[in-house]
Amino acid sequence: MKIPSDKDLLHRFEPVMRYTAGEEFFPMSVDAYINRSSLWVKESNQPEAKLLIPEGKLSTESLCEPCNDSFGAIRFLKFIEPLNISDLAAYRLRQGIEELTSHKDPKKVFHPGRGRLARVGYWSRFIDAIFSITLLARGRVPGDTATAASLTYQSIMQENQHHIYYGRVLRRDGWIILQYWFFYAYNNWRSGFFGVNDHEADWEMIAVYLYEEDKEKIRPEWVAYASHDHTGDDIRRRWDDPELERIGEHPIVYVGAGSHACYFSPGEYLTEMEIPFLAPYARLVDWVQKQSKTLIKVATGDDLREKHRDSFNFFRVPFVDYARGDGVSIGPGQEFEWDQAQIIEPPPDWVLNYRGLWGLYAQDPLAGEDAPAGPMYNRDGSVRQVWYDPLGWVGLDRVAPPHESTHRARHRYQKIKNRIDSRLVLIQEKSNQLQYMDIEARAMQAQPHMERIHRAHVEEMGAISDELNQMRVQDTKDQALLQALERYIVDHERGVRHPPRAHIRREMKPLSSENLRISRMAEFWSAISIGLMMISFVGIVLLARQYLLAALTALISLVIFIESGFRKRLARLITGVTTALAIVTALVLLYEFFWEIIIICVLIAGAYIMWENLRELLTRRRK
């Protein structure tokens, strides 16, 4: 049988992409994008960026011509010139008329769900308000750019409609890795779907991990979807995982509206964005949450780590990523099919030699509004992990392909068995030596002049005894490991597999229906609470400054109370606050009556010990 080519493999497992209604940008060819872009450079010592190649003259060849930029210089493409006011007004008018006069395709209309703010706590909303305010001061992509990008994308598609992915096929450590890269002209998550950011150009990818059972049979084992900056075990699913939806051998990808992040299940995802200067606090909160859950588990046996796995860190800004899959669908047997795959392994020049950004460099200090670099590079020009280490990126660098697992397990089994055998010989030798030494030590005991030699002899015996003990402990561990390996090999040969989700620690789950059923009142409260708090604060400062502390305490308490009521956590709040007050009161009492408390404790302890001893005595007498 013919060995499949890279293109055949890519074609066999190519994904089905399901977009959310209202999505405006789909995977496209980089050539079409580059033809409509200009190349710029921003030197660190210059206030303005310099045009290098104007629109219409740029191509994939000219993009990667050698450059002599200074340190700190950033090359970037510019896809869109923002619309002028008259163009924008004409576009909006046309859109309005279209909406009024014709029935719009439901796949093109986005319906926002319950507000993201109503789904998170007060502090997160406060951080979000600050984040939104900073957006005014930070470098950002102008608001009407998304409209202009959409119009340009539509005109490109009218000229030549296409849906393209870029494929890589790699062979590493027994795995065959298929990477599917998708290029989007624009990310309109913020302006289109209430998300974090807008930027020109967007590179997303998914990967399928295969193994060669024999020369003729290639089987899929894992699938990994890139979503935002997540890496590791959590982003991969085994081929037989029920969460992974498939049409034949084509995995289904639910794409985030505007963000183009890839998800396994349809739904609305609450994602956290970390603000750089708040990152240490966010990590501290993570640590405290983890420790407190461990402590509660030790104290009560209640495993909150399982119950509240998705507890929210309020130092990260919450956003909703809509990946409903109710819009356009691209892939085999769908309304749009993939065009011929473009292979980028070995990397062509435009991948390898262009390290600049693929869209506007907005000079955003948080980098969210700056365009990304190409598939191979990070924004700073370093190589992406997913490119140079596609196995380590999903935690597969420590996982053997299934067809090699049994062989490797047997190899390991034999190695450990050999180790045990050689150790057993050593244990026997040492044990004999110890017995001879004991006889010698007894013999020396009857000879007073040999006292010093006897002492050294006994010390040596002690050392050998310790060594022997350690060897036996190690032997017990190895025996257990051997047993486990034996069972593993038998299971594997019988076709028994480990649970497909055992590797997942923290999975991305769409919001539950319970979370989405937030009352209108709660949404209204979420919308006004931050502003109301600020206005009340100013009111207190202006009208009742002498009671500032008391009034602020009362205000914050009231907000916490209302917030807990809406989130159905009033009982937890009352219990928590009362317990905290009881602890403070107990400390006050301890401070006031320290010696009295000590004396009472000693008296009680004495009486208790006496009671226990007397009871034991009386019980014995009765018997």
Partner: protein, 154 residues
């Protein structure tokens, strides 16, 4: 022989009250009576003696609010105690809420006038909070609020 026999009225079978609930109800009863006593005794007494020291509203609040609260809370606790005897739903969380209010008032008073009866109130309230947390107590309350799968009271 009477043609119509008078039908015997059967009283609905009341569920047996678990011991922790009775204990909480009794603790609340004593606490309510005590606090009511403190409120009745202390409020007019303080009002007469300390009125000269009150310079503004903040002082007034610090001095008299906790005492007034004791009286009022005492009354509410008596009602809560009755509710607990009747095994009303949410009586555990009500008891906890009332303990929180008492503790808050006592702490405010500790930083203010610090009367003699303050410490016994603190000790007693901490004891009630501990007892409410004690593993058997919440379970007893949960047992009452759970519906019987057979539809008949236990």
């Amino acid at each position: 022989m009477p043609i119509f026999r008078k039908k015997k009225k059967t009283k609905p079978h009341k569920p047996k009250r678990p011991w922790p609930i009775t204990a909480v109800a009794l603790l609340l009863l004593f606490q309510g009576l005590g606090l009511l006593g403190v409120g009745i005794y202390d409020y007019p007494f303080n009002l007469l003696l300390e009125m000269e020291n009150v310079h503004d509203f903040y002082h007034f609040l610090l001095l008299f609010l906790p005492t007034a609260v004791y009286g009022l809370v005492g009354l509410v606790i008596l009602l809560a105690s009755l509710d607990t005897f009747r095994m009303a739903p949410r009586s555990w969380i009500n008891a906890m809420l009332l303990q929180g209010i008492i503790l808050l008032s006592s702490l405010i008073q500790y930083f203010g006038s610090r009367p003699q009866y303050l410490y016994p109130i603190m000790i007693y309230t901490i004891f009630v909070v501990l007892y409410l947390h004690y593993s058997g107590t919440p379970q007893g309350f949960r047992f009452v609020s759970l519906p019987d799968p057979n539809g008949s009271p236990k």
